[in-house]
Amino acid sequence: MQDIFRFRIAIQTILDYKKTTITLTLLFMLISVMYAGMFPAFKEPLEEMGETGLFDSFSNFFGPATFDMATYVGFLNLELYQIFWMIILGIVIGFIAASIVSKEIEGKTIDLLMSNPVSRKQIVFEKFIGLIPMTLIINFGTMLAVIGITIVIGEELDFGNLFLTHVASVPYFLAILGIAILISVIINEKMKASITFIALLMGMYVIETMSKTVPDYESIGVVSITHYFVPYDTLKFGDFNIGSALILICVTTVCMVISLIYFEHKDITV
């Protein structure tokens, strides 16, 4: 029993993704510095746009935060968090996680891995654990980059709220990992699994956007995980919605439990 607590597969997963973690962290740090650094140049044109009422049409898609776009917090939220954070980083992490089991099956390395005294549950669970450090490092690395650039350009930002936003994004990314791993244990080809994940996340995002723009569809947004992470509320007001975080943790747990049960009974053919 004690073998489970040695987390050897998890440690190996962390090592396997060491380079990817460093690359992605640097990339997202760079992107955040670039976007935040652009704000001083955009500030005046954005204020003028706001006066002409142009934001009204966008507000359908990005919510009330749109009206705040000419401020630093609003700009960060829209340019960085809503697009690069929730969608692009969500896709990148989910893309990797969706291949985590399927690539071992497709590449047949699972045969040798399973020849060791490790249970199937242990393999799936430790792979999940092994991906969490990557998610956290990208997450808080980016946060540090945002703090740095904010100080450099001399804009005002509540760093406590910023920290809380990054903490609030943890359950969101855990849910992404959970969903992606579920896909990964079901689909045996890694590329197919990754693409299925992207389609699912984009589908959820579209549904949620639709629920905001089309009055009759208001309630369908609840099926999307993007519904449960609203960076603007935390970044601007320091609101941390515990209920939403719990829902995301539930999604993660349910996906993982199904993954463990499904993988336990799956035939591993050659």
Partner: protein
């Protein structure tokens, strides 16, 4: 004591038969050969025994433990060399062996000995390994912690003849130390050389299960001869064959009478050999 016991072990992939009603036992300290052509069900049997596939019906135990309930415990004492060996290509040989040693979590008592026999470039990435090197590291990982049994799916594919011989020597040495080995093969010479008993599988069904020696002694000698006269004129047995001018047939316990018969012809060439498993094999598959 039986190490493996299967009882009507059956695996269907949907409607396609993999293996059906397999009942056999493997004894402690023997080398068991599992013979059959490609697609006969060898790999399906092995993968079912090792928990990769769930049996459709029937049951099996390894070291007295049920394969469906206790597979993790079983794998502490049973190692596996897959037929289609795929290793983590991004790791070096050393990283790979360290990873697996950590998963086994016990002393790697045979590692140094194995590294001397099966020399592999440990600091090179596995993606740069040739097929033979991969096979060697596959053998090393299986035996390195000296497990009680190793199940091997065509383990010598990719090894040159010299290494094959080293591998057979190693297997025999392990056997003398009381270890059990189960190896599947379609190469008969291999089974002929190292195995104590053999099970022959065809179309998912076990068709023979015997001691290698008994099997061979039953079948007499194989005679091949070339005569100056037309081969067709030779009064051989009914199952005599003529191939490229050679007359071929099997003599069972009556070599003497055949030799006397040969004296009536002008012999150009003559080969009398033991009936190899290959011949037996062909015999079983021709039925």
């Amino acid at each position: 004591m039986n190490v493996i016991e299967t009882n009507n072990l059956t695996k269907y992939y949907g409607k396609i038969k993999g293996v059906e009603d397999l009942t056999l036992s493997v004894k402690k300290g023997e080398i068991f050969g599992f013979l059959g052509p490609n697609g006969a069900g060898k790999t399906t049997t092995i993968r079912t025994l090792l928990g990769y596939l769930t049996p459709t019906r029937g049951s099996a135990t390894i070291f007295g433990r049920n394969i469906e309930d206790d597979i993790v415990e079983i794998k502490r004492e049973v190692a596996y060399i897959p037929g289609d060996l795929n290793i983590y290509s991004h790791m070096t040989g050393k990283e790979f062996l360290n990873y697996f040693a950590a998963l086994r979590n016990r002393e790697m008592t045979l590692l140094n000995e194995l590294l001397v026999i099966f020399d592999v470039p440990l600091d090179r990435k596995l993606k740069g390994y040739s097929k033979g090197m991969k096979q060697k590291i596959g053998i090393i990982q299986a035996f390195m912690d000296d497990p009680e049994m190793v199940i091997m799916d065509e383990p010598t594919s990719g090894l040159d003849p010299l290494l094959q011989q080293k591998f057979y020597d190693f297997l025999i040495k392990q056997k003398k130390r009381g270890k059990t080995m189960f190896l599947s093969s379609h190469i008969l010479g291999e089974v002929d050389r190292v195995c104590d008993r053999v099970g022959i599988i065809r179309d998912g069904n076990l068709i023979a299960l015997e001691d290698v020696e008994t099997l061979k002694s039953k079948r007499g000698k194989k005679i091949r001869l070339k005569i100056k006269e037309k081969p067709e004129t030779f009064a051989g047995p009914k199952d005599m064959k003529v191939k490229d001018g050679w007359i071929e047939f099997i003599a069972i316990n009556d070599i003497d009478s055949w030799i006397k018969k040969f004296s009536k012809y002008t012999i150009q060439d003559l080969v009398i050999s033991d009936f190899s498993l290959e011949d037996i094999f062909i015999h079983y598959y021709e039925d």
